[in-house]
């Protein structure tokens, strides 16, 4: 018996049988809930469903309406602005803070705690706190004016043109701490000998970071990038808590459009069309990049 099993090479399907059985529930969940749910949503986005899902197809009507709706366009613009700046600033600030902490400063753990603390707060708390901080009568503007600078004006949340930057500030405050910690972990993984070698060669600190350390931290940056990107796409609660899309519709975001049209406007298909567009944007940007990053050649 044992000899026969040894002579024939077991097929790949039955190798690690117990591990495969154990993963069946998760595979099913992924297929039914994620893939199935996504397919269902996309399918119904081609219908005229209102409060309840109904299968009466109307072609691309929902998408035509979506892209001619001013609120959706504004949502996309806001997401683009928020996403662009959030990505750059989170990475830059996160890395800079991590690099500073990595210089073996005194009281590192205290600073680390301070920088990471905002991440422990939910977006709702963050949004409300920054709503007050940016309130012209209570927050920064008032404080600066009381210090004597009477004409100082800083009121982003009530100005439709710059309200998204008010939200960006809150988002950065909340999110950079986590990225800093991830970067710090990456920096700690760099061999001390690299630094010694750089010093021997007479390369400056900043130059070492940019030319040597950052390229070595590529996997850490990829992780950070994925975390930031997913945070950007799903931004919702921060906006709801901070401005609720206002003033007017100046700080609307796509996820909020989806929720509003699905539930408040009782127009499921319109909400589905919007969420399909969100999915599509993720797919178009992330899939080719993830394929290049993780697939293709296998690193040893």
């Amino acid at each position: 018996m044992s000899s026969s099993s040894k002579s024939r090479k077991p097929s790949g399907l039955f190798r690690n049988m117990s591990a495969k059985i154990a993963s069946v529930p998760m595979v099913l969940t992924a297929l039914v809930v994620f893939v199935g749910g996504t397919a269902w949503t996309v399918l119904y986005s081609f219908t005229s469903s209102k409060l309840l899902p109904k299968l009466n197809f109307v072609g691309l009507d929902q998408y035509e309406r979506l892209w001619s709706t001013r609120r959706w366009i504004i949502s996309i613009e806001n997401l683009a602005v928020y996403g662009f700046f959030s990505m750059i600033f989170t990475l830059v600030i996160g890395f800079t803070l991590a690099a500073m902490l990595d210089r073996k400063i005194r009281g590192e753990s205290i600073f680390r705690t301070i920088f990471l603390y905002p991440f422990a707060l939910s977006f709702v708390v963050t949004g409300l706190a920054w709503q007050w901080i940016l309130n012209p009568d209570l927050g920064i503007q008032n404080v600066v004016r009381q210090m004597g600078w009477e004409s100082f004006t800083f009121n982003p949340l009530n100005d439709p043109d710059i309200v998204i930057y008010g939200i960006l500030i809150a988002g950065l405050w909340q999110g950079t701490g986590l990225i800093m910690v991830i970067m710090l972990a990456g920096l700690r993984g760099i061999d001390e000998d690299i630094w010694k070698a750089a010093r021997v060669d007479g390369i400056g600190t900043v130059k070492t970071y940019i030319r040597v350390i950052i390229p070595m931290m590529r996997p850490v940056f990829v992780t950070a990038l994925v975390l930031i990107a997913s945070g950007i796409i799903k931004i919702y609660d921060l906006v709801v808590a901070q401005t609720n899309g206002g003033p007017g519709i100046a700080s609307e975001v796509p996820a909020k459009y989806v929720i509003n049209y699905m539930f408040r406007a009782q127009n499921l298909a319109q909400g589905f069309a919007a969420s399909t567009m969100m999915l599509l944007s993720v797919v178009i940007i992330l899939i080719p990049w993830a394929y290049l990053e993780f697939g293709g050649k296998k690193r040893g």
Partner: protein, 408 residues
């Protein structure tokens, strides 16, 4: 031993009450001070029938509560009864057979004869069957004026919208914001609707909002409306509060001269100890066209397959519409009762104005009954953008026409 008997006795008692009384969970979104006091009247009256009112208040506005309520009904966890604004919001739930048919009770008690205006019951009726109990009438077509603000600049309190607009420059000179406006879409939309009825008149409004005639929406009557709204936008430039009650507070404290808001604003004036006709004046229909819409709240009863619960639902339905409960509830709520045959002489100046308009039959069906939630959301989005930007009246009108043309 003694404690044991006590326990047994109380257990028997619990068992006994359970046999007769039924707990009925009632969801609603009446959570402000005056509203909660009004709901307590319902609970008191229902408890008196031997059943138990289990309060399921959902904090936040209808926009927050409605999705929660609907998803509970759809998800197979229905409450015993729930508040909704009658009209088209529950239409699909009724069609899906999720709401209890109240027709028998309605016929037995003759709701057709007592509910005034009849449009309220019509809004509860689908294909000849009755599915909800209207409990009050709220109307949005009011402007609330501060006597103090006009005294400060030495002007008489305006009698209509045009006088109000004419008084605006003087108010602004004195540092008073002419129009208080909460920066939220629904409030801006409400002001738009109210100005429409005052400026365009009822016939034009009916053609657009009820018959969805896009040509009228593109016509001169609505052009005047959008210009008036653009003007109102300038009057409200300095008002940067968010919630409606904060805007009302600007009027109460004479920082603003007026606010366009529904009759629920009255509760705020009452809480602040102001007296109608002395400290503040209300003008229905902006004093131009004295008509009110007849929106309001109604209770729906999701289908629950349990005889005792069904019985309790019917008892609650008849409690809600009984004369004593109607008086007690509406006096606290500041809304108008749904039956014309009860004595409301204890109501204040503003409520009396509303009652007499109602008695004369100068009523409009409310927006909830005419346009779907989808169309209303689109109009609300448009208004939210219009009031906070420099969009021209013409652009706004063009987009409004598009929305009306594509409305179902």
């Amino acid at each position: 031993m003694k404690t044991m008997t006590h326990l047994l006795a109380s257990a028997a008692l619990v068992g006994a009450t359970a046999a007769h009384a039924t707990d009925l969970e009632v969801t609603h979104w009446w959570t402000s001070g005056g509203e909660a006091a009004a709901v307590a009247e319902f609970a008191k009256a229902f408890d008196a029938t031997g059943n138990t009112w289990v309060d399921g208040a959902i904090a936040g506005s209808g926009g927050t509560a409605r999705p929660i309520i609907i998803s509970r009904i759809l998800g197979g966890d229905p409450m015993g009864a729930t508040q909704l604004n009658h009209g088209r919001q529950a239409e699909e739930l009724i069609k899906a057979g999720l709401m209890t048919d109240l027709t028998e009770l309605a016929e037995a008690q003759g709701w057709k004869d007592i509910v005034n205006p009849p449009s309220l019951l019509d809004a509860c009726t689908l294909d000849g069957r009755v599915y909800c109990v209207p409990v009050n009438i709220h109307s949005g077509q009011w402007i609330w004026l501060s006597h103090g603000a006009f005294e400060k600049v030495g002007l008489d309190v305006p009698a209509d919208w045009n006088e109000f607009v004419a008084a605006a420059p003087k108010l602004e000179e004195a540092g008073i914001t002419p129009l208080a406006m909460g920066q939220q879409g629904w409030q801006q939309n409400l002001a738009f609707g109210t100005i429409t009825i005052a400026i365009a008149g009822i016939d034009a409004w009916r053609e657009v909002s009820v018959e969805r005639n896009a040509d009228t929406a593109a016509g001169p009557a609505y052009k005047a409306v959008f210009e008036a709204v653009a003007n109102a936008r300038e009057l409200a430039r300095n008002s940067n509060v968010q919630d409606w009650n904060l805007a009302t507070n600007l009027v109460i404290t004479d920082q603003a001269a007026g606010q366009i808001m529904g009759d629920w604003a009255q509760g705020e004036f009452q809480v602040a100890g102001e007296v109608a006709g002395v400290d503040y004046t209300c003008l229905p229909g902006l004093g131009v066209n004295e008509v009110l819409d007849t929106g309001g709240d109604a209770f729906y009863f999701p289908v629950i397959d349990d005889e005792a619960t069904k019985k309790a639902q019917m008892e609650l339905a008849s409690t809600l519409i009984s004369p004593e409960v109607q008086v007690a509830f509406n006096l606290k709520k500041g809304s108008l009762p749904v039956r014309g045959d009860i004595d409301m002489s204890s109501a204040n100046d503003c409520m009396q104005k509303g009652l007499s308009i109602l008695a004369d039959g100068n009523i409009l069906p409310s927006g909830d009954m005419n346009l779907t939630a989808d169309t209303q959301t689109q109009i609300e989005d448009l208004m939210a953008e219009f009031w906070t930007s420099d969009m021209s009246a013409g652009d706004a009108q063009a987009r409004y026409v598009d929305i009306i043309a594509s409305a179902e």
